[in-house]
C-alpha cells in the first residue's frame, strides 16, 4: 500500500525536476536537449506506471476471475 503512495510522490518529483531542468535548458538555448529530456521523462514515468497497471490487471483478473 505504502509502495503505491511512494510511487505517486516519485512521479510528482520526476515531473517537477524535469520541468525545472527544461526551463534551465531552454534558458541556455538548448531546445533540442530540452525536447529529449521531455521524452525521456515521459518514458521513465510510463515504464513506472506500466508495471503498476500490470499489477492492477493481475489483481482484477484474480478478483473477478477473468481469464
Amino acid at each position: 500500500m505504502s509502495l503505491n503512495v511512494d510511487l505517486v510522490f516519485q512521479i510528482a518529483i520526476i515531473g517537477i525536476v524535469v520541468s525545472v531542468l527544461n526551463i534551465v535548458l531552454r534558458q541556455s538555448h538548448k531546445e533540442e536537449w530540452a525536447q529529449m529530456l521531455t521524452i525521456a521523462g515521459a518514458v521513465v514515468v510510463l515504464s513506472i506506471v506500466a508495471r503498476m497497471v500490470l499489477d492492477l490487471f493481475q489483481t482484477v483478473r484474480t478478483m473477478f476471475q477473468l481469464y
Binding site: 510511487l7 517537477i16 478478483m63
Partner: protein, 127 residues
C-alpha cells in the same frame, strides 16, 4: 481508518496535479492514473472480502455459480474499460475513449450471451 488515508492521498495528489498539469501535462495524466490505482489497491483487500461474501451468499441461496461468475466478470471488464476510457478522456482523446467503451460493451455482451440463452430456454419451457 482507511478513508482518511484515501482522502489525504487524494488531496495531496490533487495539489501536485495542479502544479504539474501546467508544466508537464503528459506526466499529470500518468500521475492521476497512479493515484487512481493506489486508491484501488488500498481498498482491494476489502473488495476481495466482499466478493468472498457474495460467493458465500450465492452458494447458500443455491444460485448457479455460472451466473455469479458472469456478473463478476462483467463488473471487472466494466471497471477496466472505465479506467482506460477515463485516462483517454483526461488527455482529451474522446474518440479513443469512445472506442474503448465500445470494446467493453461488446465484450460484456459476449459474456452475457449464455445468460440470455438460459432465459430464452426457460421462457420456451414455460410456453
Amino acid at each position: 481508518m482507511e478513508i482518511m488515508q484515501v482522502v489525504g492521498l487524494a488531496i495531496v495528489a490533487a495539489v501536485l496535479l495542479v502544479i504539474l498539469r501546467r508544466q508537464r501535462p503528459e506526466m499529470a495524466v500518468v500521475l492521476s492514473l497512479v493515484v487512481g490505482l493506489a486508491i484501488f489497491f488500498m481498498v482491494a483487500q476489502r473488495l476481495l472480502a466482499i466478493l468472498e461474501f457474495l460467493r458465500e451468499l450465492a452458494a447458500r441461496a443455491r444460485v448457479d455459480s455460472l451466473y455469479l461468475n458472469t456478473i463478476l466478470k462483467i463488473v471487472g471488464i466494466a471497471y477496466i474499460a472505465e479506467i482506460g476510457a477515463q485516462v483517454c478522456r483526461d488527455v482529451e482523446e474522446t474518440s479513443v475513449a469512445a472506442k474503448v467503451e465500445l470494446a467493453g460493451k461488446v465484450l460484456i455482451l459476449a459474456l452475457a450471451i449464455p445468460i440470455v440463452m438460459a432465459i430464452l430456454e426457460a421462457i420456451l419451457r414455460v410456453l
